[in-house]
Symmetry: C2
Subunit: 130 residues, 2 copies
DNA sequence: CTAAACTCTGACATTGACGTCAAGGTCTAC
DNA sequence: GTAGACCTTGACGTCAATGTCAGAGTTTAG
């Protein structure tokens, strides 16, 4: 199938699919004229990609995940990176956890600011941010 | 005091202070030659700014918060925006909460991916991202 | 065979709070 | 009055996954 069909069937845009290919996540063949030709299994593959993106994984790590967990036929040169993959993913997990903690802290600070502003507007200055 | 002293006393960089001025958060006077001259109270003000930034507030909203909660002498034209300020802040709070929820979902998805990869590397494919 | 629909590549724009450099002007201790 | 530390503005770089053009080529239904 061509790019717009794959886009329609996956909910991605053509631009996204080209981007995924550019980063080694998809490997469509080409018509003589140069049009991308995708296979049926690419529908599932794009689904996986978007799921992994939703897991906040950066594209370069998704490439490795796909190379290490997909059907063994499509192994990518980086497959040797499969051993340290777990470390990568655990690192991403920690990064994400830290980010969540930061945002949770920010939200508490913001709650304080809200209270501060509420009081200030009621003419009782008592700053949460001193 | 000049910019580097304020930087040293607040932990900010000169770049940050210029950026804050550029966005209306600071209003230093100038020497004849054009050097910025900050006052003692700017030390505290920068502290507030950084606290508000840590609360994940965008610079344009911080300007309004400062205008509405600071000493009344330094009121900025936008002070009229004080009434809808609470709405803005509550909107930011919700935005932040949503962002946190998204990331928490991503983390759970990533936990699933981790398990998947762990199993795949143990030769038992059972994908979390199908 | 041609028009319409589709696709291609390449490149710039977006978001935000800065970092970092360049080319030049200012201040101050001596 | 001058060296050297400090300061100025301006502009581009950063990170990431896309959006969105432009200009050109391909495919296909009729």
């Amino acid at each position: 199938m061509r790019i717009s069909e794959l886009a329609a069937r996956t909910g991605a845009t053509a631009r996204m699919l080209r981007y995924y290919e550019q980063h080694g996540l998809l490997r469509p063949s080409r018509t003589e004229g140069g049009f991308r030709v995708f296979g049926e299994d690419d529908v599932e593959r794009v689904g996986r990609i978007r799921c992994l993106l939703a897991a906040a994984l950066p594209i370069d790590i998704i490439r490795i995940v796909l190379a290490c967990t997909g059907e063994r036929e499509i192994l990518i040169p980086e497959a040797e990176a499969c051993r340290p993959l777990m470390d990568l993913l655990e690192g991403e997990f920690d990064t994400l956890s830290n980010r969540i903690d930061e945002l949770a802290n920010s939200r508490e600070a913001l709650r304080g600011v809200l209270d501060d502003v509420r009081e200030t507007l009621a003419r009782q200055p008592h700053p949460a941010c001193p």
